[in-house]
């Protein structure tokens, strides 16, 4: 019974937090931090995508920022070349990135975990090289949309309803929320269950009739779509895109924060994005080098991996994620006295273990 009560409370908590994020935070924080929070919204989507891949299906991507760059590139190209409304462009960017991700990912799916991760690293490197040569669209014509001779580069446009920074921040939070709902819709239904089976035991999944290749591809498609959309939001956020904004090390750092935040839950994706984008902004404001964060993230990866009980995807989120949950629990109304067991017991029939997000 306790589980059902907790689940009923959750949407209310989430709604409150969302409203606070949308309206409370912009009132409290300066534009500098609002811009950082817009980045948090963008990267929470990418982190969620990485979480789907790593946490649900056990595929580690060492090149997700490169995928983000592709999404941003497509969105920028479309934004300059067409006058389509922003949401349409976001969806298009997502779909094109999704197709690209599936085409590249499908042959790679035959490889085992380590090889697959390494291929994503190389792929990211390759994309970085291509982008450095191709450059991001800047209003020019032709396929690449880049005109090296342009002196006054037009900014990438934003939706008409969200042209100011606080408004665009709210816009990105809403897009992120929609993407999160998309992930949840998958996790709670058949693909989520299939992924759970594949993650624990691929032979068992196959023996149950699950087409593992299809479901892995599905996860890849979902992750690529979401990352592509995030790229579109990023394009509007920064107005100007440069290939040096997407270096290889960022993919590695992103993976690190996602591991620290917890690959398994969507809250973890938010935590990861906060680590990745908000903390550096904070530090920069205080005059502290962001390199300290890089070092911290490195230590965080080591800590998370050495204390995780089983595989990467089975980790119980520790540290910050647990802290986050603790804080959330503190903001809830006090619950009726719970039975002492959230501890799984060996006897049958005891309900326990609240579900993951």
């Amino acid at each position: 019974m306790r589980r059902r009560v907790a689940v009923a409370r959750r949407p209310a908590i989430i709604a409150v937090l969302l409203l606070f994020a949308l309206f409370g935070l912009p009132a409290l924080l300066s534009l500098y931090y609002i811009d950082a929070l817009t980045q948090v919204a963008v990267y929470s989507m990418v982190a969620a995508a990485l979480g789907v891949l790593a946490g649900r299906v056990g595929l580690i991507s060492l090149g997700q920022v490169a995928v983000l760059a592709v999404g941003a590139w497509v969105a920028a190209r479309l934004l300059f070349a067409t006058t389509q409304p922003y949401p349409v462009i976001l969806v298009e960017a997502g779909l094109i990135t999704m197709v690209a991700g599936m085409l590249i990912g499908l042959p790679a799916l035959r490889l085992r975990g380590l090889y697959l991760a390494l291929i994503t690293l190389m792929l990211a490197g390759a994309i970085t090289v291509i982008l450095a040569s191709l450059n991001f669209p800047n209003g020019g014509h032709g396929f690449s949309g880049y005109n090296g001779a342009l002196v006054n580069i037009p900014p990438i446009r934003r939706p008409s309803i969200a042209s100011g920074d606080p408004a665009y921040y709210r816009y990105s939070v809403i897009i992120a929320a929609i993407m999160f709902l998309l992930v949840l819709a998958h996790i709670r239904t058949r693909p989520g269950r299939a992924w759970a089976a594949i993650r624990q035991s691929e032979p068992a999944a196959l023996a149950a009739g699950i087409n593992t290749t299809l479901y892995k591809l599905w996860a890849l498609a979902l992750a690529s779509f979401i990352t592509g959309v995030a790229g579109g939001v990023l394009a509007g956020a920064v107005h100007y895109l440069y290939s040096i904004d997407f270096p290889t090390q960022n993919s590695i750092i992103l993976l690190a924060v996602v591991l620290m935040g917890g690959v398994y839950s969507l809250w973890g994706a938010v935590v990861a994005a906060v680590l990745y984008q908000f903390l550096p902004a904070l530090l920069q404001n205080w005059g502290v080098s962001a390199d300290w964060l890089t070092i911290l993230f490195g230590i965080g990866v080591l800590q998370v991996l050495t204390t995780a009980p089983a595989g990467l995807a089975d980790q119980v989120p520790k540290d910050l994620a647990k802290l986050g949950r603790l804080l959330l629990r503190l903001t809830r109304r006090p619950q009726p006295a719970e039975p002492a067991a959230a501890v799984p017991t060996e006897t049958s029939g005891v309900s326990g273990g609240g579900g993951a997000a």
């Binding site: 089976a197 624990q200 196959l206 009739g209």
Partner: protein
């Protein structure tokens, strides 16, 4: 009826199955042999995890080896594993329903079929609990329930009683004995527990070093000199 003909599996210089030819009749058949004899390899061939170097398997008239591995479950191959593989983070219901979900069986009958399977194996647990909260014996029953749900044609049980205490083993034995009549499926049981095999299987086949060394009515096979020698070595 399952017809295995000339099945050979080679991997890394080892011949795990050597020209195995056998016909399994309907009912429950035992498959025994010392460790490394090729029993799990045989199951892996049937499940589609291992491609044989030679040989064919015709199951109920269909060419089993021609089907992709995940399609075999839909066709009706069901399997339990040596180390039990019930999916911890899903509920009992979701575990058992998995095969149902991914085959062409109708959604409307799903709930009924799943609950039937759960009660058939005598699993006394709330179907909505997460499997990770269950004990070893119950997790094994979840796996067996998954193997019998819907309309299986071939049920492969790989050492289902491994690591279980006696009462749970005998309960499992009761369940296994009732599988053929409940599902009309052909059941193959691999195990080292000879009393379980004797109790459940009308016929038994014996593998040693990948070769079939005996097959026939269980009682006779268990008394066969070659079989005893394979297990215990030459006197």
């Amino acid at each position: 009826m399952i017809e295995v003909s000339g099945l050979t599996v080679r991997y890394g210089g080892v011949t795990s199955l050597d020209d195995m030819s056998l016909t399994f009749q309907v009912g429950t058949c035992g498959l025994i042999g010392p460790n490394g004899a090729g029993k799990t390899t045989f199951f892996n061939v049937l499940s589609g995890f291992v491609r044989p170097a030679a040989g064919t398997v015709r199951a109920f008239g269909d060419d089993l080896l021609a089907m992709a591995h995940f399609r075999r479950a839909r066709w009706g191959v069901r399997r339990t594993f040596q180390t039990e593989q019930a999916i911890s983070e899903l509920s009992v219901f979701d575990n058992v329903a998995m095969v149902h979900e991914h085959s062409r069986l109708g959604g409307s009958s799903r709930r009924k079929d799943v609950l039937d399977a759960i009660s058939f194996v005598g699993l006394d647990a709330d179907p909505d609990v997460q499997v990770r909260t269950l004990g070893a014996g119950q997790r094994r029953l979840v796996e067996v329930a998954r193997a019998v749900v819907g309309r299986p044609k071939l049920v492969l049980l790989d050492e289902p009683a491994a690591g279980l205490p006696d009462e749970e083993t005998s309960h499992l034995g009761d369940v296994i004995r009732r599988i053929p009549e409940h599902t009309q499926a052909l059941t193959i049981l691999v195990d080292h527990d000879m009393s379980l095999v004797s109790a459940c299987c009308e016929t038994t086949a014996v593998l040693d070093f990948g070769k079939l060394i005996a097959s026939g009515p269980t009682a006779a096979v268990l008394r066969n000199d070659d079989v005893i020698r394979a297990y215990l070595g030459v006197a």
